[in-house]
């Protein structure tokens, strides 16, 4: 792409696409994923019912490919390229935002590795037919609980801090006050995701079904 003054805009376009992809579809999918998995907190039967419904969504493979795999692969790989293009200096200059810059990168790679493990085990090894019992069985192993907890905490942080980055990088939060508010909003989102994610782990591990009854 060439602009009126003859400069290429390829990196502008790809950078903005990477930034946007973190919110939609990846962040939106993460919200949907946490919500669907919260059915584990209702009952094993309900969870299996919802899971089997998702397994037979029409156009499943192209939808998964376009809305989940491709965006995550692009966001992650281009994210690594962005990482490589920067030289972090938070050790010598330990301001909070400078540490957030570093953490955004490290949580990104942790999430990438976790997604690889997660997809391999619950999607490919089981041919996409994982049941409540399968996950509950895996969660009996404390190491697997730890891996999931780390993955969930890293993804929650990465999304919350990413929302703050996004609001600055798209010019939604301009003044210091609005940037601070966006930061708090991101922190709240991170906390909500972390709490829901950890509750789901607890549900599987302890067969805890707090939403079992109609209040």
């Amino acid at each position: 792409m060439a602009s009126a003054v003859g400069v290429t805009r390829t990196s502008f376009f790809l950078d903005k696409l990477q930034s946007l992809s973190g919110i939609v579809p990846i962040g939106a999918y993460l919200a949907e994923h946490f919500f669907e998995n919260s059915y584990a907190l209702v009952s094993p039967d309900k969870y299996n019912y919802i899971a089997s419904k998702l397994e037979t969504v029409p156009w499943r493979i192209p939808l998964e490919f376009l809305l989940i795999w491709l965006p995550i692969l692009f966001h992650g790989c281009y994210g690594l390229y962005i990482w490589w293009n920067g030289k972090a200096n938070a050790i010598g200059h330990p301001w909070m935002t400078n540490w957030l810059y570093v953490l955004q990168r490290w949580t990104g790679i942790i999430v990438f590795a976790f997604i690889g493990y997660h997809v391999w085990t619950v999607r490919f090894l089981s041919h996409g037919k994982t049941t409540y019992a399968d996950i509950a069985h895996a969660m009996a192993n404390p190491w697997i609980v730890a891996i999931y907890a780390i993955g969930i905490l890293a993804a929650s942080f990465h999304l919350g801090n990413g929302l703050w980055n996004f609001s600055c990088k798209w010019g939604f939060a301009v003044t210091p006050e609005s940037q601070r508010a966006a930061g708090w909003f991101g922190a709240c989102v991170a906390i909500v995701f972390a709490v829901i994610g950890l509750a789901i782990i607890a549900g599987f591990r302890f067969h805890w079904t707090p939403f079992d009854t109609y209040l």
């Binding site: 003054v5 962005i82 010019g171």
Partner: protein, 251 residues
């Protein structure tokens, strides 16, 4: 040596391609000394702490009142102006190094022409010369003046580039100062006429998209320029411009 002294360590290179060496000087303390006074004292008597005859360390300075930008260097690891770095407020030994993100000329002198080139590339001026007298420009509202004045204090010292993780040999990133200058010139009633050119330059290689929001720049700017606000404001302008021209073309 008198009772009270100041110890200054300087990272020195005669030429950019030679290995750096550290030299330590011990100077007589006087009240209100700053780093430039130290460098002048060294130039007057360039003898190292261990008694070796050396040479005056090269450095740049003009205004001596933190308005020209020339004397930026790393002082105890922080990019800042030597003329406003008071010895009384610094831990000793005072370590002086050249800025690391610009090509070295000699000792503490670096070549910051990248910033000037980028100001030109992003059209950071207001063309008012013509073949005839263009007359008076439009008036600027007091509100715009108030937003613009702090931005106009930029002295191209380069501290904000030095501290930025994304300014390095992997990128051509223009850095916070230039983005903030584009905001200033786009704000000006006459400068606005060329805003499209500036925004398009900011979308090019090394443009605003390279900013990853570490927000270090605003913490080191000696002039207190609201750089992160400028960057976010320009992100908005650039994205609106990109969408508008892509969908509906230029006016």
């Amino acid at each position: 040596m008198p009772d009270k002294t100041v110890i200054v360590r300087i990272k020195r290179r005669q030429r950019p391609d030679e290995p750096a060496r550290w030299e330590e000087f011990e100077l007589r303390y006087r009240p209100h000394m700053n780093v430039i006074t130290c460098l002048r004292d060294i130039a007057e008597r360039p003898v190292t702490r261990d008694g070796r005859e050396s040479s005056p360390a090269s450095y740049e300075a003009n205004c001596l009142e933190e308005v020209c930008g020339a004397c930026a260097m790393l002082i105890n690891g922080e990019p800042r102006q030597a003329c406003s770095a008071l010895v009384d407020n610094l831990e000793q030994p005072i370590c002086l190094e050249p800025l690391s993100k610009f090509p070295l000329v000699r000792d503490l002198v670096v070549d910051r022409s990248k910033m000037f080139e980028d100001l030109k590339r992003t059209h950071c001026w207001i063309p008012i010369d013509g073949t005839y007298d263009l007359g008076e420009g439009p008036r600027m509202s007091p509100a715009t003046q108030e937003t613009g004045y702090p931005l106009a204090r930029c002295m191209s010292c380069g501290n904000c580039l030095e501290i930025c993780p994304k300014v390095n040999e992997h990128t051509q990133f223009v850095g916070a100062a230039i983005i903030s200058q584009v905001r200033l010139f786009n704000m000006h009633p006459t400068g606005k006429l060329h805003s499209a050119e500036r925004l398009e330059a900011l979308m090019g290689p090394g443009g605003i998209q390279d900013c990853d929001n570490s927000q270090n720049c605003v913490k080191v700017c000696p002039k207190g320029i609201p750089l992160t606000e400028s960057i976010a404001a320009m992100n908005g302008q650039v994205i609106r411009h990109a969408l508008k021209t892509w969908f509906t073309g230029h006016d």
